[in-house]
């Protein structure tokens, strides 16, 4: 009898040898005359277990990890095809504490199914959201998304329902959808996992948005650093087109909608929505001044919904299960679940989907299990390179847009990067400015010049060149960048810089005290 074996195709598994593991399993099975059927699933998101090989046994799926090619022969000897004992046996993955604590709505299928199998997608609840959306029609969908309380998952947290309604009501044709998959923020990989591990989910979400807004064309703009995601999305779009999910009659309706992947070219700033639009149009990825809003004049000057991958990916569940069920999760004005990405120096890093409200401390100490290095945690950067560094004293902050904003931080795209006590916070502040200078699109002065001056100022500070004065200049620069920049790149770079200054003053030398304005 052929045994089904799952070997993830996610880039994070491939990067630690998943392709070689799959080949080794096929080879060893052939040698032993054992029939196996290898399924390349997505990753479940517990990255320290990759390559997590799962075997479909009479007792359910049993996992082994991390498996390297050299482990494969031993796994066969241990009888892993029937769930045999082995040092790398982790049991049923869903029973692991890391997964047991999660509420997986968006990531319900990721790691379970074959991402390129539409059959598998449907067998695991895929497509139900679109089915209901087709019955509800535009007004019904807009109502449902608005009532769910869904806010843009890219970082800005703008209510998705309002954005969609604005485009639905805007005059002009054609209307476009743009999916921002330019996931350039360090610490973030949820978009990548969706595209590689459950691409039909994104297609379903965008098809629903098309029905709601009247858009006929959707672009998925993926960064060039994600070749696996590009390939996976292109293949899935092709399949969806053949199945009639995309094309002239979406899901059998009279609404036409098709999708296309566009690949970025290594400019971080294109993750900013208006720069991204310019990039698709074939221009330098420079930020546009707003207004006009993309919802009124977006791609090619037409009404455009631009949403992050996770915003579109949240919608199928909302439609399938109802806005009330989604709205019931979360805290304050942050409703539903957030796919939190835990990275950096942690024991258990990866994708952790949970309702808003979980505290930073719970995430770092309980879910992630502290540092991998065993050193104490010193700082946590939440929300990517433009997010603030929080010290342990702020670990009671719940994951919630407003709670983070109140503490001069960002939820951003939901990444949590943990640093141990060897981190030099002045170096991190310098890095944030250096990164901003490297990636600035150059359109506005505070960002273009401010970031360069910021790096120079920190270097002078380090050299002991009038430290008190340099601190004053640094703070002043940050103020200017925060309030004077056109977009979040220049506008948010002060978050990591000023949080480092505020919460870790000891790293900026004693002269810091002289620089404090008299309170």
């Amino acid at each position: 009898m052929s045994v089904r074996i799952f070997v993830p195709c996610d880039a994070a598994a491939v990067a630690v040898g998943a392709d070689e593991v799959a080949a080794a399993i096929a080879k060893e099975a052939a040698k032993l005359g054992q029939e196996v059927h290898i399924v390349r699933n997505g990753s479940r998101g517990a990255f320290e277990l990759e390559t997590l090989v799962e075997v479909d046994t009479a007792d359910g799926r049993i996992g082994y990890g991390p498996v390297y090619p050299e482990d494969v022969a031993g796994l066969f000897t241990a009888g892993f095809l029937t769930g045999g004992k082995h040092a790398k046996r982790v049991g049923k993955p869903e029973e692991l504490p890391f997964f047991k604590r999660q509420t997986r709505l968006m990531f319900a299928r990721c790691g379970i199914t074959d991402p390129q199998s539409l059959e598998d997608f449907r067998a695991h609840g895929g497509g139900l959201g679109l089915e209901r959306a087709l019955k509800l029609g535009s007004a019904g969908i807009l109502d449902e998304v608005a009532k769910s309380g869904l806010r843009g998952r890219g970082g800005a947290g703008f209510p998705t329902g309002i954005k969609w309604k604005t485009v639905a009501d805007a005059p002009g044709s054609p209307k476009y959808l743009v999916c921002n998959a330019d996931e350039g923020d360090s610490g973030n990989f949820a978009d990548r996992m969706v595209m590689e591990g459950d691409p039909f989910l994104l297609i379903e979400g965008m098809a629903i948005a098309a029905l709601a807004t009247g858009a006929t064309k959707g672009y998925v703009y993926i960064r060039s650093e994600y070749p696996h995601a590009v390939a996976a999305m292109r293949k899935a779009i092709e399949t969806a087109r053949r199945a009639g999910i995309l094309g002239p009659n979406v899901g059998g309706s009279d609404h036409a909608f098709d999708m296309e992947v566009r690949v970025g070219a290594g400019a971080y700033v294109c993750g900013e929505e208006t720069a991204l639009l310019d990039s698709i149009e074939g221009k330098r990825g420079q930020v546009r001044a707003k207004p006009p809003l993309p919802a009124h004049k977006g791609l090619f000057g037409k009404p455009t919904v631009i949403n992050n991958v996770l915003s579109f990916a949240a919608v199928p569940w909302i439609l399938a299960e109802g806005a009330a069920a989604y709205q019931a999760l979360g805290v304050g004005r942050s409703r539903g679940t957030m796919p939190i990405q835990i990275a950096g120096d942690v024991k258990h890093g990866g994708l952790f989907e949970a309702p808003f409200g979980i505290t930073l401390g719970e995430l770092v100490d309980e879910v992630a299990g502290g540092t991998l290095s065993g050193k104490p945690v010193r700082a946590v950067q939440v929300g990517g390179p433009l997010g603030a560094y929080f010290p342990r004293a702020m670990f009671d902050t719940p994951l919630d847009y407003e709670a983070f904003a109140a503490k001069d931080g960002l939820v951003g795209h939901g990444s949590v990067v943990v640093f141990n006590d060897s981190v030099d916070m002045k170096a991190q502040a310098r890095y944030a400015l250096e990164f901003c200078a490297f990636e600035s699109c150059g359109k506005c002065t505070p960002c273009r010049i401010g970031a360069v001056r910021g790096v120079e100022t920190i270097d002078k500070l380090t050299a002991g060149d009038g430290p008190a004065k340099q601190m004053e200049i640094l703070k002043d620069l940050c103020e200017t960048m925060k309030f004077g920049s056109l977009c979040a790149l220049g506008g948010f770079t002060p978050y990591p810089v000023m949080s480092a200054v505020t919460h870790f003053p000891e790293d900026f030398a004693v002269d810091q005290r002289a620089a404090e304005p008299a309170a």
Binding site: A11, A12, V14, A15, V16, F47, E48, E50, E183, G184, D185, S186, G187, N188, F189, D191, R192, S224, E225, Y226, P227, H228, R262, V263, G264, A265, G266, A267, Y268, S279, I280, E281, G282, K283, R284, G285, F300, Q341, I342, A343, G344, D345, V346, G349, G350, L372, Q381, P385, S415, V417, V418, F419, N420, V423, Q428, Y431, F435, E439, C441
Partner: protein
Amino acid sequence: MSSPEPFTAERAVEIISAHADQDGALLPVLHALQHTFGCVPPEAVPIVAGALNLSRADVHGVVTFYHDYRQTPASGRVLKLCRAEACQARGANAVIAKVEKALGVAMGETTKDGKVTLEPTFCLGLCASGPAAMLDERVVARLDDAGRLKALIEEARS
């Protein structure tokens, strides 16, 4: 990775016309040119401009704006090491120092034998498995493991 073809205007025209017929064609056209020639050759710029009804300055501006586009082919294999925060937190700076020492070059340089070009990258989305790298189009992670790092350096040099 297959080695780049030498530039010819005929081949460039062929590639451009295969991609020109779409909205916002410039980036797809430039990607396709670079895929074939290993770079966007300066000789191709006026041809692209003519085909897409843009000025040469427009095309040049786009080519030089995006970090990905090269104006000369990279020498040998391209090894990109991630230097973003999550990889830093997992020891990327030490890995970068080791690779620079082993190859005898700094970031942005090519080895004397022309076999490897070392470049920085900012996040490959492998943030819980870092330090991470990309050798041509292949991603590699867990480079804190000395054996894995050594194997990567050897592969890059081969």
